[in-house]
Symmetry: C2
Subunit: 707 residues, 2 copies
């Protein structure tokens, strides 16, 4: 009937508008039941459950068998980590798989079966689930004693497929791969030619004294290749050339040539290529988001215009204001935007909306909320007004900065004076008294500012919130200290009492004071620019960070499987222990420091492996060592070379946009800076044309438009 | 009289056109004698003498007292270097100073006294000369025994002031300094805040076992600062965090945070800022060169139009063709251009030239010579024509590449097989026979190609020249080997004979073969692009390289003066010896490797200085150590951070331009690529307007134009 039809149209419009708000694709089923399922699937609860499931399945690696949940990382002192009984983590895993299965079926159903086969991500999702389940069954049937667990390596895929940003970024990276591969090929040619040169230059001589270089670094082909590869990372830079250099200064020419060509030219060329490929990346991604938004709004307009209530107009389609109001009431969106749209809809006073008017109404979505700070309180008394003027003035803030600086300097002086004192000689009186004074000043400053600005206005500035929070923490700590240890007096160094010793308390207070000093940032123009750039960058980097997590995770799990049992805790294996404790314990890979450790120890491997392990395991370990080398080189290439260059490219892109804008609109920037990427590019974005939108709409697999 | 006036005008026009060709400023005296002096000063001989003088005065550092002209760099085995007698280098220096004095007087005279005082470079030049001369006199009056020689540090100034490109680049760098300083300030804040945090975190504890981190890296303020500064260079990366990390894994958060903020964000921000500032640098410099050229041509037009022979025309000025021909005959310029201009002048058949026509004639200067390869010989015989087709075909070149690759692979195989053999076990027969065969093939290939292309056409391709030269060298080496050692046969390993042993000869041949393999580069499209980018870059980098030489030189000389006698050759001072031999010997600084050595040993200084030297010299050496630290930090900042970033910026700029052009004009790029920077930017350059040119001409300090 007409009523159900109308209801359907209204529901479609609601979903399309929500799609537009969230920049989602509108290519999903649009019948009543599917729409209900769609709204349920994209409801906050459902998405939250999905995210939680992904987090849980990724976090399982920390608790599973080679767990690394110990305080120390030193294999010698470390107590055996807690190993969960067989079946515990596995059952949690099964629960996660069940959630994923529901997820994939809903998703596949919603986009329709024809579309499903075109969507490679969904097919891969199902394959991953199937493989994981089979692996899970195998694992349980071996009572968790099997070595190879493929499903662990596959886990990060669940994170990947759930984020459209990450999928988009991956596509971008993928399109850069051919150029990157060319440079990597060039690097390989460079490396192999220089390796041959090196082997010819630093050959074994008859005089054993003369060939230190050969013994140390160029004994055979793998050794030479490793030496030069590590030289490319600059990790063994002066050491590798010292024996040759002390024999003849001219040998340094070889190493200089290699480093200049490899490090200075080819490596930076990689940066240039990646930057060149990514120059338009942000703009393109924002442009496609804009297209999705306009498309969603347009689709809503089209379905609403097919409502029977609307008068049939052959020339142009219209939407009645009433229908739109009905839709708006049910749409989930930011309340500020909803109010603004409703208000302008009522102000317009027309009964029908054309497509252009309809689109224009929703432009409110693109606008940034102009933040209005609440007004200061108005005092009657003349004295209070003067107080308000004095303590509301920026100079009072600057005075606060100067005092914070003085506090930092005093702490620094005490630290320098106490540097070489024994803990028993230390007297905390001076620092205690000074900090007490400064914290009182901070409290006073906060109270006076609240007095001048009013609590609401005070809290509306992020810098004040930061300031106030830290002041309160400092006050609490100070009161706790006094409550336990009494007021500062000469010789104020009581023994350990309660939770923390006095010394620890004082240190904690000092750390918070140093941290509080960051409040100066917004007052320094250039610093503020840099910090806002960095914050923007962090936002744009979420997708990259996600991909990085995926790569880290996969490498960590592969590392666990490859190096399982490779380290045998023998007498003095300190060196090996430093090298591989974390390769054995997977979760450590997730720490950034490890990248560097592996980069540094890459060369260590070739020498230590051979001396230590090859004595132990002879052939089998030699094989491991070779695998380890390949593993670490891959790790270095991906994490250090490619990822860092991607990061630099994004930073350049962001910073140059920001910088240009700062130069162009100097006067505006003081008022309120626009935060989102969409707004950063607003001037250069192209509005999609009517034809593009309609063409896309007619290609919709499930929506049949009347005209 | 009119005749002398006319001669003067002709001479002025000649000089202005030469200025235009060389992109020189036209703001110099224009009377007859000055013009003669000007042409003499800018003649090739004079400029060559000046360059030679600068080279000599810079090269003196290698021979002066702490000279480093020894083969080994190891202080233990090194024989005492040759020290020139007092007065030898000093008298050469005096000669150089005399040349510079002539140079500065001619330069000052030519630009005129009023202009002289405005030109800071000239004033600085004179000051430098005066200071150098005074220092020279002091030096001689002490019989060369004085320690501080200021004039050595001033020497690179002579290089700097002689190159207009370097002065321009320096100005550009100078304008980037405020932004760079901001980031460096930010880095300093970052470093100091984290140092305070570190000192609070890794404080001394009562339990001596627990504070390894404190003992090793954070004992006092300078130590902590150094540790974190070195962490910023990633030189001590895993080591500095290992003690804390093995105590508690959570401590790694501190180091990760520091590295991510400092290394990933702030350091790359520096790259972004420098790139942003240098984005327009190349374009701007090319634009100003174009302006100088147009201005010179226009000035020549104006003076020629004042010739009495020309008919007075109130509206517009004209130049007679005849006068221009007279000027052209005397101008020193590329003969190809001169011919082209004369030809088009004769073809034009008009008697008088307007300013626009005049300017247009000289646009020939901007054009690139389109290289025409000489034609192949035309053979009559059908067989020879077939031969020509076969061996002139690109596939024959590809076959040559494949053979070269096969040669490389065979050498590689032999190297791998021989890697662990004793020199006495080695048999050179296999390699000798193979190489003999391959070199014969190379010779054959060269001859056949010459047959097909003709000698002239063969030599007109750079890749063929490279190929042919190496083939000839290989042939000569091979013949020499056979002459001395006979033909290869099993057990071909005779003892040392003549200049080089057989083994060395074979190695030399192999190196040339590896080097010859580079001929594949032009055949791989992406490689060719990269290599041409690099070649362009090298051209644009000359100014940067000059500034780098200036900085290296100044640092080296400062290093010699600072660390003179700081190293006392005691028993086992291997560590110190590795660290400072080259700081003592200045010329070593000029090698790139040293940068890295100092970067690495920066931290070594803080620990080794204190353990070794402070035992020896107590207070005085401690002072030296602190100075050394400041010196090395300055060195790191300038050479590693700023210069490398400048390099990256230039590379990005060059590469992105090149890449864009490649994409836009794919079909053209095959024929002939344009080499000069001017041509690279031709599409985006703006022609200066008539008004700009005339305004500039009227500001000329010495030229009075009639109208």
């Amino acid at each position: 009937g007409t009523g159900t039809d109308n209801d359907l149209y209204i529901n479609q419009a609601i979903v399309f508008i929500e799609d537009a708000i969230q920049y989602r694709s509108i290519n999903h089923r649009v019948d009543s039941k599917s729409l209900w399922l769609y709204r349920w699937y994209y409801s906050r609860t459902c998405q939250w459950i999905l995210s939680l499931t992904i987090t849980i399945i990724l976090a399982l690696a920390f608790f599973e068998k080679p767990s690394s949940l110990t305080i120390t990382s030193d294999v010698r002192y470390r107590p055996p980590a807690w190993n969960p009984p067989c079946g515990l983590t596995e059952s949690i895993e099964l629960l996660c798989f069940l959630v994923f299965m529901v997820d994939v079926s809903v998703k596949s159903y919603l986009i329709g079966w024809e579309e499903f086969w075109k969507n490679k991500w969904l097919v891969a999702y199902i394959l991953t689930l199937v493989v994981s389940l089979i692996d899970w069954i195998v694992s349980l049937s071996f009572f968790c004693t099997e070595d190879v667990r493929i499903r662990r390596i596959l886990r990060p895929f669940f994170l990947l497929q759930n984020s459209s940003m990450m999928k988009k970024t991956l596509k971008s990276i993928n399109s850069t791969l051919p150029e990157m591969a060319s440079v990597v090929l060039l690097l390989a040619v460079h490396l192999s030619l220089f390796t041959m040169f090196a082997m010819l230059l630093f050959a074994r001589t008859k005089d054993g004294q003369q060939d230190k270089e050969w013994v140390g670094y160029f004994r055979n082909l793998p050794d030479s290749l490793t030496s030069l590869l590590v030289l490319l990372t600059t990790a063994n830079n002066p050491d590798v050339m010292i024996p040759a250099y002390s024999k003849n200064r001219a040998y340094s020419i070889f190493f200089i040539l290699f480093t200049v060509l490899g490090n200075l030219f080819l490596m930076n060329l990689l940066t240039a290529i990646i930057y060149n490929q990514f120059r338009g990346y942000l703009l393109k991604s924002v442009q496609s988001s804009l297209f999705r938004r306009r498309l969603g709004i347009r689709a809503a307009f089209e379905v609403l215009s097919s409502l029977r209530e609307a008068p049939a107009n052959a020339q142009q389609s219209y939407v009645s204001t009433e229908a739109l109001l009905r839709v708006l009431r049910k749409v989930e969106m930011d309340s500020r935007c909803k109010q603004a749209i409703t208000r302008s809809l009522k102000m317009c006073s027309c009964d029908q909306l054309s497509a252009a008017q309809f689109q224009k109404l929703f432009e409110e979505l693109d606008k940034d909320a102009i933040k209005q700070h609440p007004p200061s309180p108005e005092y009657q008394s003349h004295f209070m007004q003067k107080m308000q003027f004095v303590f509301g003035h920026p100079y009072f803030g600057y005075l606060g900065n100067v005092v914070a600086l003085a506090n930092i300097v005093s702490i620094c002086v005490v630290l320098v004076m106490d540097a070489d004192k024994q803990p028993s000689e230390r007297d905390d009186f001076f620092l205690g008294a000074i900090n007490c004074f400064f914290i009182l000043y901070y409290l006073l400053e906060m109270l006076l500012k609240i007095l001048a600005l009013g609590l609401k206005r005070y809290l509306s500035y992020p810098s004040n919130r930061f300031d106030g929070l830290l002041t309160v923490i400092l006050l609490v700590l100070e009161i706790a200290t006094f409550a336990v240890y009494g007021f500062p007096h000469p010789g104020w160094r009581p023994q350990f009492m309660g939770l923390l010793s006095l010394w620890d308390m004082v240190r904690l207070v000092n750390m918070f004071i140093v941290f509080r000093f960051l409040r100066i940032i917004p007052n320094m123009k250039f610093m503020a620019l840099v910090v806002t750039t960095l914050l923007d960058l962090v936002k744009n980097l979420r997708a990259f960070a996600g991909i990085l997590v995926v790569v880290f995770y996969a490498f960590a799990i592969t590392g666990i499987m490859l190096f399982k049992g490779a380290v045998v805790p023998l007498g003095n294996i300190r060196h090996v222990a430093q090298f591989l404790p974390s390769a054995r314990r997977g979760a450590d890979y997730l720490s950034f420091g490890s990248i560097q450790i592996y980069r540094k120890k890459l060369h260590g491997c070739s020498s230590n492996c051979i001396t230590w392990w090859c004595l132990l395991h002879l052939l089998s370990v030699n094989l491991i060592c070779r695998w380890a080398k390949i593993y670490f080189v891959a790790w270095w290439l991906i994490s250090s070379v490619i990822w860092v260059n991607l990061f630099v490219a994004l930073l350049l892109e962001n910073f140059i946009h920001k910088w240009d804008r700062r130069c162009h609109r100097e006067p505006l920037s003081d008022i309120e800076y626009q935060r989102t990427v969409e707004l950063m590019f607003r001037d250069v974005l192209e509005e999609p044309t009517e034809e593009e939108l309609m063409e896309k709409l007619h290609q919709h697999p499930h929506l049949q438009l009347c005209r």
